[in-house]
Symmetry: C2
Subunit: 380 residues, 2 copies
């Protein structure tokens, strides 16, 4: 696979009460058009990654909605795969340019979540889980708490090690002006924060966010950009965690990573920078192990010892601040991850720049791993 | 474009209160697997066309949901483009096999609509229209009534001519055991039926339906099947009809048809059989003109004179009974149209078989034409 990234941008993430989805889409699209130097009539199709517009906003027909708003009136479609909607939109956009049907496409990941009552948002988000899980009244925090307990039991992972994931990601986010939270956190603050679903505390959890992210992709040669998608691999697993053999790993992430490494012809040791789906701190620890950055059971300690911190170790993980601190507008997340890696490889990631990054990876999860999409980007 | 159709099937359409979406998906998938002779582990990805699972069923993550239910656990995604969700799912599935990422994919169009209160269904469906239209309290019947009035005014189209579309499609549906309504209608019955939004009467409108349709697509050579997709072309227009220059035509349908004919290297006169989006009778008349089967203003009279009826004229239009009489489970419709053309070209369409059909077309519309997807199928 060789799909060139011509431009990438995000809006600020956060509680953006002053901005409608229309305005967020316009902002971020104007940015990628400007960056790529393309007139908007050069865009041949629009792929919208979004999860909640229907259940929260009573807005379906989201492809046509945004293509009209952006004045593009080209083929347009909404792609939904829960919190992996953004990664899946990148995947299908990439395949569409490889197929030859479209030369240049816009991928728009977008979500507006903070305008609704928390119980509405929670109910809508649980639309991504299994019926049985919903019937128990479980939230995603509760489900990931079960996963955390299993991991603690099996691998002696501690609450302090999990807390360190939040400390790292808030530190990285403090260098990212588009992050939802730009104030660093201490280990003590995480450990003393309110319990949401034991052992997960509020600072172990990613927030509810608004935001948009956009990419322009092309499979043409000689585009002037030297950053390309070298692998795009989705996988699925059961919706419910009770159907699975092992709670301490996401099978979908392991399968998708293996496929992606094979497509790109590289391995975990080749990755300089990665954005992974840290919806909860335990999720980042498990992601490190599923992708193969560390041996099973060794990731929590490695993160605690700062082996994935900016200017300390490799790969540097979640330079954007991750979902945890940069924010998690669900349909935007998978697109934002690719944008961040693109910026890192291009050398325009600002204060959070990882020096001499040439290969990066994104890991975008839907639900508790029923979907996982892995992308690998390279610099020519 | 050359994407082979290995199999196609639908469930019965109608008020299927005894069948859950799970059961409908299983039924139709079992049929296409059986017909293609493929084991289910040969399917490499699942594309689900659906509009309302989120707003009506609080079920997101629909790709993973069905891949688990079908025991496939392969990459899976939901595609949404309002009532063109099915056509858009076929489009992206086709591009995905052309890209080389997947060898064989399942397209599943599915909708469950009759389990909910009519006002809920109506509100959810209006999620496909513009904000301004919703604020007026308009329904899609009201919007298409405005379109019908404009067409009547400009081209002297009559209520009797519109009624004849329903008579034809109910006649065709009487030959289709999977149709929602299998009892023929008379012109008098249509004309005397209750007014919904003048000039549209209840028998000018397609029903609320449950149902599923499935296809297996591949871009491999020597598959044993001689039916293939020769063109796949979507287009978009404004969500709202008030933004358009002309109410008597859908610009998206004209653009997508032109593209599709160019891709397939054929013209309107080459089409033997077509399934078009007759959500209301006036919509079929306009579709005939937008695709180019008849001159602008001439289609109503041509249909009235039975030029698109089985065993009388060419192209034969809506042999399945169309949305009007076979039913309109919105996310399934675009897939079902391709299934019907596949069966016609293969010569397995039963009592409604159009003799020596070699080239067929489908026309799937979202909203009042904000999305249109055209497919052209050929027999080798």
């Amino acid at each position: 696979m060789k799909v060139t990234v011509l431009a990438g941008a995000t809006t600020k993430f956060g509680e953006l009460w002053d901005f409608s989805p229309r305005v967020l889409a316009q902002q971020v699209t104007a940015q990628v058009l400007k960056e790529s130097g393309l007139a908007k009539n050069k865009i041949e199709a629009v792929f919208v990654g979004n999860m909640l517009s229907s259940s929260l906003g009573n807005q379906d027909h989201l492809g046509a909605f945004f293509s009209e708003e952006l004045g593009m009136n080209v083929p347009a479609v909404k792609i939904e795969a829960a919190c992996a909607s953004g990664g899946m939109a990148v995947h299908l956009a990439a395949l569409s340019v490889i197929s030859g049907q479209y030369k240049k496409v816009l991928v728009l990941g977008i979500e507006k979540m903070t305008d609704y009552k928390p119980e509405m948002v929670n109910s809508a988000l649980m639309g991504a889980s299994s019926d049985a899980e919903r019937e128990t009244g479980a939230t995603f925090a509760a489900l990931y708490a079960l996963i955390a307990r299993a991991h603690m039991e099996k691998y002696r992972t501690t609450e302090k090690e999990m807390a360190q994931v939040a400390v790292k990601n808030h530190y990285h986010a403090s260098l990212n002006s588009h992050a939802q939270y730009t104030v660093p956190l201490t280990l003590e603050a995480v450990l003393k924060s309110s319990v949401v679903a034991s052992p997960l505390k509020i600072f172990d959890c990613s927030p509810i966010s608004d935001g948009a992210a956009a990419l322009i992709l092309s499979s043409e040669k000689n585009t002037g950009s030297d950053i390309y998608i070298a692998a795009s691999a989705p996988s699925t697993d059961t919706l419910g965690i009770s159907q699975r053999d092992d709670l301490t790993s996401l099978k979908s992430a392991k399968i998708a990573s293996r496929l992606a490494f094979s497509q790109a012809g590289v391995g975990p040791a080749d990755i300089d920078v990665a954005e992974v789906h840290d919806c909860f701190t335990i999720a980042e620890i498990i992601a490190m192990e599923d992708i193969g950055f560390f041996e099973k059971g060794a990731a929590a300690r490695a993160i605690y010892e700062k082996k994935t911190w900016l200017n300390i170790g490799r790969p540097v993980v979640n330079t954007s601040g991750g979902l945890k601190a940069a924010g998690h507008p669900v349909g935007a997340t998978g697109v934002k991850q690719v944008v961040e890696i693109y910026k890192q490889l291009k050398g325009i990631a600002g204060k959070k720049q990882v020096k001499s990054s040439r290969i990066g990876l994104t890991h975008n999860v839907g639900g508790t791993g029923a979907t996982c999409v892995i992308h690998i980007l390279k610099k020519n």
